[in-house]
Amino acid sequence: MRNGKMPFLALLMIVFATVGAAAEDVTLQWWSWDVELKAQNEAIIQKFQAANPGVKVELSTMSTSEYWTKIRLLANQKKLPDVFEMSSGYIEEWAKEKLLLDLGPYIEKSFDKNDYYMSVFDAGKEIAGTGKYVAVPFALVTTVLFYNMDMFDKAGLAYPTDKWTWEDFRTAAKKLTVDTNKDGNTDQWGFWFYGRYAHVEPWVFANDGDLIDRTTMAYKPDAKAIEAMRFLTDLVLKDKSAPSKMAMSAYRQQDIFPQGVSAMWVDGSWNIDNNRTVADKKMRWGIAEIPAGPSGNRKYVNGWPDYFAISPFTKNADAAWKFAKFISGEGLDMKMYMAGKIPTYKSLTESPAFMDKGLMPANKDLLIKQAAKTFKTSYTLGWSEWRGYGAAENLGFNGVIDGIIDGAMSFDEGMKTADKNVNKILQRYYK
């Protein structure tokens, strides 16, 4: 080997190696609050990395309360993760603060609209309120009526149908409230709820009512909404077919129905996953539409998307977009979705795998029917504060409803308190 050539070749190799490495050197940060999906998410990452050599993805998972605090602090430092989960409850605030990358150009150029349910994208655009697509909705969730088939059978009742009215529901709830061991205490409740958004809003919208006046952005429940709330609270106070909130304080709220303490329950469709875990094979259950109220036209459903957003400060926008597209449908199979969430990627939802044959509920296609309706939500700026969400669940509007069914205040007092408190908060956000 001649002395001259070796060093030069070595140098060339080093240069190529460095350039090559620099071209490969993309690491994306992905933040998610789906603690239950951690293993599946890691599997998705493996799939993506295999198909995209040179891109690495690092996942951080944490519970929602930690998630929002930490990610907000990152936003403050202008250091957001490249791809991060976003909820409908906060998207308006984040969009208005310009903390979500405008995805319009990507959707126009490197996106096939036929692959997705664009109606969900448009619903997301509307909730965000800035006229732009600022996040990729990867799933739609709706609210459904869960019912315990075994209890219905025992009481000799027909299962809920999509023709059910509130009267049908009320009668069934009364018949399903039983003192099974005759000790003077109700052991099986026909229904149960508290002030939670996913417990109250579905009924309001099933009566074609609204809590928020969208022109003035004030809390102004119309007569139909009040009718819905009165209907619900009467179940506890008059019919005694639903318990007070106090009585259920020993349980985690999402375990009450699958543990067989109540015969019916209204909450988000994503609870299908937890129901399967907790109830296992011990009970047969199904899902149905929320019964329509006296003024209801069965047009609306309380549903909203969950999204993946991209940081506006990201240094790898193209790679981040590619990954966001991948994890919102392209790269997934139904095993990687939380049961009860509806993928926005058509081929997933329309595949036979969606039906989860052999598992409950048997009529999961109800969710697809719901997805075709018009979505309504109560989301606004400052929603978690006035509504009472998450760690603030005992307060806000949530707390008022709880106070009514716990007997701490009358219905009218509650409505007055809600009006005062909620509007005080909303006025701060919508000056």
Binding site: S65, E393, L395, D402, A408
Partner: protein, 295 residues
Amino acid sequence: MAKRGLRWYGPLAPWILLAPTLLGLIVFRIVPIGGSLYLSFTDWNLLRNPEFVGLENYKEAFADPAFLQVVENTLFFSLIYVVGVMVLGLALAVLVNRKMRGSNFFRACYYLPVVTSAVAVGIVWSWMLSPRYGAINLLLEALGIKPPYWLGDPAWALPTVAFIQVWKMAGYYMMIFLAGLQDIPLSVKEAAIVDGANPRQTFFRVTLPMLSPTTFFVFTVALIDSFKNFELIYAMTRGGPQNATNTLVYDVYLNAFVHYRMGYSSAVAYILMAIVGFATLLNFYVKKHWVRTQY
């Protein structure tokens, strides 16, 4: 102290040795306290820069019935706590002070809750107090008493949590009272008995007054500690039901890290500090009226 002080340490020595403390004092106390004051005059949601709003936060707080409820809760909680731990702490100290077998075992028992984390305490008590399956309710129902919803009923929640905090911390104050009791010379008590005093008179006319410096110390510490109930509330009720167990320390957390209102939360924190400071200063001022120094 030796007047020749300067000979064994140079003028810089105190400052060098005090450096870590000074550093901590400035960086982790004085600067944050000042920073908090500044923040309390701003509106800041973390997603953008702080906006100066003057006294708006304070005005909002005092005009808000929910905030006033929180202040009321805080004061009520402190009352239960201070009275509770002082009475219970003293009672336990008196009981344990006798020369008898197993007193160390009893002391350990009473100190057990003190060293346990508030979260674990909250978990166990939440369970024992839960309607239907909790040990306490089952016992009461067996006796024919219908128990209230300890943690779910707004009327009962705060006293219940306060009681659990007292239960948890009484042992700590017992230790302090015990030390104070043991400092009282036996001769004084014996003299009283020779003079014909019965145990009750001895206790109230001799022991208690001589204990007053200790009592003062306990009262001061208990007062400051009475505001420190964040962990227990977080573990048990999260401020609910409907604000019933929301105290100032919890409200600061709620406004800062749940509602993301950093400015307003700092104002609440300052109001809290003002209350604690005022109570402590009042206590020191009143000290000379009831504390007898020994001999």
